[in-house]
Structures are given as C-alpha cells and as structure tokens.
Amino acid sequence: MTTPKQHPSAYVLVDTSSARVDRLWRAVHGRLQASARPRARRGVWYVPALALSVALAFGAGLLSRRLPESGWAKLATANDGVTVQLQDGSALTLGAQTSLLVREQAERVVELALELGRVECDVSHLPQRAFSVSAAGHAVLVKGTRFSVELSRERHVLAVEVQRGQVEIRRTGATGAEAVLGAGERWSVPLETSASTPQPPPAELPPSVDPSADVASSTTASAAPGVSAPAPAARSSADVSAAPPHRERAAPVPAESGARTLFDRGNAARRQGDLAGAAHAYEQLLHEYPADARAGLAGFELGRLRMDQFGDAPGAITPLQLAVRVVSEAGLREDALARLVHAFELTKELARCRAARAEYLEAYPKGTHVLAVVRSCGGE
C-alpha cells in the first residue's frame, strides 16, 4: 500500500515554534494596544522616571517645557488641556487652568497632588503599585481605573467621578475610607472659601522670561522639592467646610455603557486571575442588563468559570441556559449548549441532560462538539 501523497504546501517549511509564535504575538498585541490607546488632544508626552523633574507650562497654546534637575514634576496648563503619559502606562489628561504636582513616580507608588483644575486619570492596573491623587485634604486611592478629580475655584467644590473600576476616598491623614466609589458614581465636597485655594497658573508666559526661572519660581511657590512636601491645596482639612460630602450617581449611565463597563471589568478581572471578581462582574451584568447584547457571552463566561474554575456545575446551569436562550450567533450558542449538556451530566440530571443533548444534536448534527455530546448523559 502506498502512502497518499500530500499537497505541495505541506512540504514548504514554516517555523511555527512556540518561541516564534510568542514573539509574533507580543508584536501584534503591542500594536493592537497602541492602536486602541486614546489619542491625546494635543499630543502625548512621556514622563520617564528619571525625568520626574519635568515642569511644563502651557500658555495659550504655546508650549514651554524645561527639564530642571529635581525629584518631582509640576504640570500646569493655561487655556488648553493636555495628556501626559506616565511611565507605568497611566494617562493623565489635564483640563485647562489646571495645576498638578507629580510628587512621586516610582515602581510601587505614584502620588499626585491636584492644586487646581481637573485631571482625568486612566490608571493602568499594577497590583503592587499604589496610585493616589490628593486634593483639598482628601486622597483618592486607586488600583486600576479611570476617574477624574476636579478642584474648582469658582464653584468651591472638590469632586471625584469614576468612569471605570473603583476608587477609595480618604481624608488626608485618616486611615479609614470616607467613601468608596464604583463606576458611574460621583462624590463631591464643598470648599469653605476660595481664599485658600491656589491661584491658576499664568495664562501666558512672557517670551522673555527664562523658562527655568519661571519653573523654579512656580515650584517654590507651590511646594518644596521632595516627596513629603504637601501640595498647597492639601495643606489642611480645614480648607474643607464642615458640610457633609455629597455622594450621588453621576449622570445616568446608559445601559449600553454600564453593561460594557461590567463586561470589561469581568474580562479584566479574569485576565488578572481574579476569577471571583470576574464571576461577580458577569453576574452583575446578567442581573442588571439581561437584555444587553453582551448578556449571552457573559452567561457563557460565567458558566464556564463556574464549571471549570469553581467546580460548580449546578451553578453553571442557569447562566448557560440563559446563553443558549439569548445568543443568536450559532457558534457561541453551540458552545453554550454543549456545555449545558456537560453540566447536566455532571449534576447527574440525566433526563435534562438527554433533552439538552437531543436539542444539540438536532440543531448541530455536524457540530464541533458532536462526539463529546453523543458520549454524554450515559451515552444512551
């Protein structure tokens, strides 16, 4: 008997070693991440750790940057916003008329102090790194999230708003949390007077001014160099009136946005190995947004987690049933139905197992999981 001759393409050597595959994936993944990163409105500046001394002064769209040698950075905007990227991948978007101190930027800690204005932080998730923004006697502590802090001189208010993830707010010096905010929540506290809040940075830098001197004067006025130097706005909690903080839901979060947030949170938690967190996010999505387009996939993922990771086949049945019911895409529904058969088999619900098996074989007689499904439910 002769061996059937293979096609010519089978004899062209292609190296698909794991080392090559890994290398190519890293390259592709990096490009995908780069393309997904939001573009800065007026550009992105990288602030490496060794260049913490960056001091930026923006005046009426005219950029003035100098790099004096010191251990911290001050970022200030005049009439335009700017986005700055920290070395850990976190992005800070400063609004107009904003002054922000980068008091510490190290492997395990990033400390920012908002003196005035508004900063939006898109914080990369690094479990070992503490990220905080202090303002007006409060500190916002985060792990990985997207949120904004606003210190308004005109409205005499400090406000924190969370778009994604979770943040904790503490009074400066306190150990306990004053508030914990989730996605879509906003927290604010009124300031007593505007007298204690610093003045905005100059709207325009005179061209004749020596930029280094300008930076030095502005930094001297705001804080002494060093990590321990408090930002003026964070000098004392007495700056803040006795009025209780106000916590509210931010502008109603559209269902689509909320479901997406939960779905993203679940995916992110799963990638980080927080399987319980992932399951919780998927559960919440199914509970709050059962009609969302992601509900089917969330049900499938929740069922998969419960079956494979938590050994909870009974708990996987309901989300898988939901996935089978709501998913219209054939491939995903087929996967969910095959899993449902397996879940019934594990829970020894043979009648339901056979019913699900029959449903699968009728719907997908040539499906990917036919062999596994046929052998299930006792193989009858």
Binding site: V12, L13, V14, W25, R31, N267, T368
Partner: protein, 192 residues
C-alpha cells in the same frame, strides 16, 4: 504564560471561532490571543509560501492580524474568521509585492533570491521537489498578481473560484493571470 481565555477548558470543549470572535470584538484580549494562536500557522504558512522569505512573511502576517483584530466588526459571519483572514493575508501579500516591485524599479531594493533548500522540506517526494523548485524559480520574475495566483493554484492547490474569491478578482481575470504565469513557468521548464 497564562492560558488564553476560551482556548480550552477542563471539560475539553474547545470554543468555536465564533465565540472567540465575539469575545474579541467585546475587547477580550485573551480571545484575540486565542484566535491569533489558532490561525497563525495558517496565515504564516500562506504568507511564507507566496513570498518565500521568513522575515517578509512575518511582517505581512503581523499587518494582517492587526487589520483583522481591528476590524472584527466587519466580519458578518464570525465562524468564517479563518477564510476572512486568508483574504486579508492575500491582500497584504499583494500589497507587499507591489511595493517591493516599485522599490526594485527605482533601484532602492535588490530582490533577495529564495533559499529553496531552507524552504522545501527534505522529506518532500522528488517530483514535488521538482515542481516546487520550478514554481519558486520563476516567481521572482512574475508580476505580483501572477505570482500570487500561481502559488495559490500550484502550491496551495486552490480551485479557480477560490483563488478569485481570495484575490477579490473576477474568475476571468484570475484565468488570464494564471495563463500568463503558467506560460512563464512552461518557458522556465523548457530551459531546464
């Protein structure tokens, strides 16, 4: 390395392409990675068989995956990811060849010969080695469109209709391209 999500699981059920595509569309990078690992051999093989060079094939494949992952919403049938990716790879290869042709004409690049010993498996039967050597020997002298059509036909073994679909050309155009390429191939063989 962490196992990509949805790649496999304890119950042995491997997720379908559709499940991975939907998850990737929703921003799940683990699903993207699963799709990449599942289809890299296909894409890299196709690219390398047309181009003949490892490095160039890698560049094209990277571009193809970035394009595919970035435009998953355009894929009407998520289960057809593999076929869709093939068309993207073929389009990227053609673009790459056209750019190289231009650089060659401008004298900005010198085409490196294909290393047939490194390309063809030592286990290949003698008649297939002869066939592959003839095809790859003539490729460098063919215009990009003819080159792609010839490899898809002679090496990949595709039907004319499949070639037309992957190259996004009419059947008549594919026939013309192939006829021209086959004529050059016949001339080369006659000289041997």
């Amino acid at each position: 390395m962490a196992q990509p999500a949805l790649a496999s699981n304890a119950s042995g059920i491997v997720p379908s392409d559709a499940a991975l595509v939907l998850a990737a569309r929703a921003g799940d990078s683990c699903a993207q990675e699963s799709l990449f690992r599942r289809y890299l051999p296909l894409a890299l093989g196709l690219s390398q068989r047309i181009l003949g060079h490892h490095g160039e094939a890698e560049d094209v494949v990277q571009d193809a995956f970035v394009e595919a992952m970035g435009h998953l919403e355009r894929l009407d049938n998520p289960q057809a990811f593999g076929a869709w990716l093939r068309t993207i790879v073929v389009r990227r290869v053609r673009k790459h060849l056209r750019r190289q042709q231009l650089l060659n004409r401008l004298g900005l690049r010198t085409a490196a010969p294909i290393d047939l010993d490194a390309l063809i498996a030592p286990t290949a039967p003698a008649d297939l080695v002869q066939e592959l050597r003839a095809v790859y020997g003539v490729l460098a002298r063919l215009p990009p469109e003819q080159r792609v059509a010839l490899v898809l036909r002679r090496v990949e073994g595709l039907e004319l209709g499949e070639i037309a679909a992957q190259m996004d050309l009419s059947l008549a155009t594919v026939k013309r391209r192939l006829a021209a390429a086959e004529a050059r191939l016949a001339q080369a063989r006659a000289k041997l």
